[in-house]
């Protein structure tokens, strides 16, 4: 599904290298988790994959189902099936949440040569998915993320993911800021989307989320590289011991 090879990334406007050769392969239907200290480059990796400006890829490659991700505009990546749930979801005053979702869904469908979804069908679709995430009608009407609580914003990201049905979902700290119940809702949302054709990359600091979303593979990222890869036990090790041992092992 997603294949990242020796990815090196620096900032566009200053000479600061952030990713120093990331290697990562995620097969179809797999769930991978990335953990790592603050500032290790996890969000940068997710932004570079999604196509945000301001970064320069100095070496390496990233492909989605064989296609060169880095050559595509962000909207093309989305239509190809990539989705990033932002660590900090963006507020867009003046754009209604429903309008936003419908515009996005229909733009992706158009790009893939599929017919647009009618207003009526769309409403039904969103209502159904929103209900499962306990997002009320009021939140759907309001401008995108404006005045939403931290947890509401995160649930709204998962709603977008549920509506857009991407192939490769990257969740950047979707669990931070969620209360225990909301975390379960989000995990259920993710689990209900799990299938043989859809993959996940879950960035998190806490084992708690991984109790609900059982990952197949866990990676540890530090100073812009994956320094260790293992099974679910690796997350438990981090949870009890922190990163110190792992970091010293790696150097």
């Amino acid at each position: 599904m997603l294949s990242i090879n020796n990815l090196h990334v620096k900032l566009g406007d200053e000479d600061k290298q952030i990713l120093n050769g990331v290697d990562l392969k995620i097969g179809a239907g797999e769930v991978h988790a990335i953990m790592g200290p603050n500032g290790s480059g996890k969000s940068t990796l997710s932004y570079v994959l999604a196509g945000r400006d301001g970064y320069v890829v100095t070496d390496g490659s990233a492909t989605l189902v064989g296609a060169d991700l880095l050559a595509m505009a962000p909207e093309v990546r989305a239509a190809a099936g990539l989705f990033l749930a932002f660590q900090y979801p963006v507020e867009i005053p003046g754009v209604g949440n429903m309008t936003f979702l419908r515009t996005a869904l229909n733009a992706q469908r158009k790009a893939r040569g599929e017919p647009e979804v009618s207003a009526g069908d769309f409403l039904k679709l969103v209502r159904d998915k929103a209900k499962r995430l306990q997002i009320d009608a009021d939140m759907l009407k309001r401008p995108v993320n404006v005045g939403f609580s931290g947890g509401e914003k995160k649930r709204n990201e998962i709603l977008q993911m549920a509506v857009l049905e991407p192939k490769m979902c990257i969740l950047d700290e979707t669990d931070s800021g969620l209360d225990v119940d909301a975390m379960k809702l989000v995990a259920e949302g993710v689990n209900s989307l799990r299938n043989a054709g859809r993959s996940f990359l879950v960035i998190t600091h806490y084992q708690r989320l991984l109790d609900h979303i059982a990952p197949d593979v866990v990676h540890i990222m530090a100073t812009g590289r994956i320094i260790k890869t293992g099974g679910p036990d690796l997350a438990l090790e981090v949870e009890s011991n922190g990163y110190a041992d792992l970091l010293s092992e790696a150097y």
């Binding site: 999604a50 196509g51 945000r52 400006d53 505009a73 962000p74 909207e75 990546r77 989305a78 239509a79 989705f83 990033l84 932002f86 979801p89 963006v90 507020e91 867009i92 005053p93 003046g94 754009v95 309008t99 936003f100 515009t103 996005a104 869904l105 733009a107 992706q108 790009a111 401008p143 977008q160 857009l164």
Partner: protein, 425 residues
């Protein structure tokens, strides 16, 4: 002294050979007397600091190509309305609906002598009052010389909007229109204005709202490139009156819209709003002066401009709260979205407050499109031009929201959408 003299010279050249129409002779003579004192505005006038009045001062209109807007359906086309058509500033009865609407008396200025008409004591009064504390010579010029316009007296609740439709056919037409509207106690009407009036256009609209009267005004200016246009809207509000005016401005070499709102009665409400879009060497100026002279009144000014490729936006907005006007609630916001580095927004927000128990706020910003929001939209699959249009419309939305009628607001929104689609690079 030299400057004063040149103002008088400009006036003399501007009106040379022109004779005021016969009707409403006293009001016209009075306007001419006032003009003789002030002359026409000069570049160095504080009130014209950001907008050069010279082309408006010139004796003849500069040629303006007739603009073909047939790629769009006519604005307000789906709204049930009473249509009054002016071609290059001349009323076209054959293209207009009969001047016949329940609760509304409509006459032509061209047919009004004054003495036996309600407008005889009305014409030019608000314009004259609006000359202090700031001179507005183009409005005086208009009162002196305008031949055409409508005189509307509303005694009930108008069942549909009155729609003034301007058509531009001659590339050198120099048009003046003067409309008078009196809304009697508890009465209500909506006025629509649209179309291109002429190569050069000077418009005055005087609106008096009696107690509890309601007036809605929605105006669309554009999309032609060559026009030079100066408009004045004078409104006076009695107690519990409600006044809402919205203007859409697209392109145009020069557009200066002045609104002078005088709130005289307690518990009255006045909103003035505008959305302007300019792509190219265009210049829009909104100059607003709201005077609060009564208790517990509310005023709002909401102006949004989207500018690119050298377009210039100007906002001069003032709220004056007189000493007795306690519990005034005054709000003013002017914002520009600059889509490139060439465009410019010049704003002069002003508050002058002589009462101690008031709530007044004003803000003015200009900035570029929010790149983070743009990326967020694109990351969800929305193509960059569509994402940009969505953000621009979101920016303009706050001003469009000032329009009460949803169908009209939607029409305005779709015009802006069309404009953005035509100018998306």
């Amino acid at each position: 002294m030299g400057m004063i003299q040149s103002r008088q010279d400009q006036l003399a050249a501007r009106i040379a050979g022109q004779v005021p129409p016969l009707g409403l002779a006293d009001a016209r003579a009075d306007a001419l007397d006032r003009l003789a004192v002030t002359g026409l505005p000069g570049k160095r006038d504080e009130y014209w600091r950001y907008t050069d009045p010279m082309i408006l001062n010139e004796p003849a209109a500069r040629k303006a190509a007739v603009f073909d807007a047939s790629d769009e359906t006519p604005i307000f086309g789906a709204i049930d309305r009473l249509k009054l058509v002016f071609v290059d500033g001349i009323f076209d009865a054959s293209a207009s609906d009969p001047l016949d609407l329940a609760g509304v008396q409509i006459d032509r200025l061209a047919e009004c002598q004054g003495s036996d008409h309600w407008a005889g004591a009305f014409y030019g009064v608000l314009e004259k009052a609006g000359q202090t504390p700031v001179n507005r010579p183009f409005a005086g010029l208009n009162s002196a010389f305008a031949r055409e316009g409508v005189l509307i007296r509303v005694t009930g609740k108008a069942t549909k909007p009155v729609s003034l439709i301007y058509i531009h056919k001659s590339d050198s037409s120099d048009v003046m229109l003067h409309h008078c509207i009196k809304i009697e106690r508890g009465a209500e009407m909506t006025l629509l204005e649209s179309g291109l009036a002429g190569a050069r256009f000077n418009a005055v609209l005087e609106v008096e709202l009696c107690e509890g009267a309601r007036f809605h005004h929605i105006r669309a200016q554009g999309r032609n490139h060559d026009r030079h246009e100066v408009t004045h809207l004078f409104a006076r509000l009695a107690a519990k009156a409600l006044f809402k005016s919205f203007t859409l401005t697209a392109n145009g070499a020069l557009t200066r819209n002045e609104a002078v709102i005088d709130i005289r009665g307690d518990d009255a409400v006045a909103y003035v709003a505008g959305a302007a879009v300019g792509d190219g060497k265009f210049h829009h100026d909104d100059t607003v002066f709201v005077t609060h002279d009564a208790l517990r009144c509310e005023s709002r000014q909401v102006f949004k401009k989207v500018l690119k490729n050298g377009a210039v936006g100007v906002f001069q907005g003032k709220i004056l709260v007189k000493s007795g006007a306690q519990k005034t609630d005054g709000y003013q916001i002017s914002q520009a979205l600059l889509l490139d580095g060439d465009s410019q927004f010049l704003a002069k927000p002003e508050l002058e407050i002589y009462a101690d128990d008031v709530k007044c706020s004003h803000g003015s910003t200009s900035g570029a499109i929010d790149e983070t929001a743009l990326f967020y939209l694109r990351s969800r699959g929305v193509p960059v031009s569509q994402a940009q249009a969505l953000l621009v419309l979101a920016f303009l939305a706050e001003s469009i929201a000032e329009i009460e009628d949803q169908a009209i607001a939607e029409d305005i929104r779709s015009r802006l959408e069309g404009w953005l689609a035509r100018h998306d690079h």
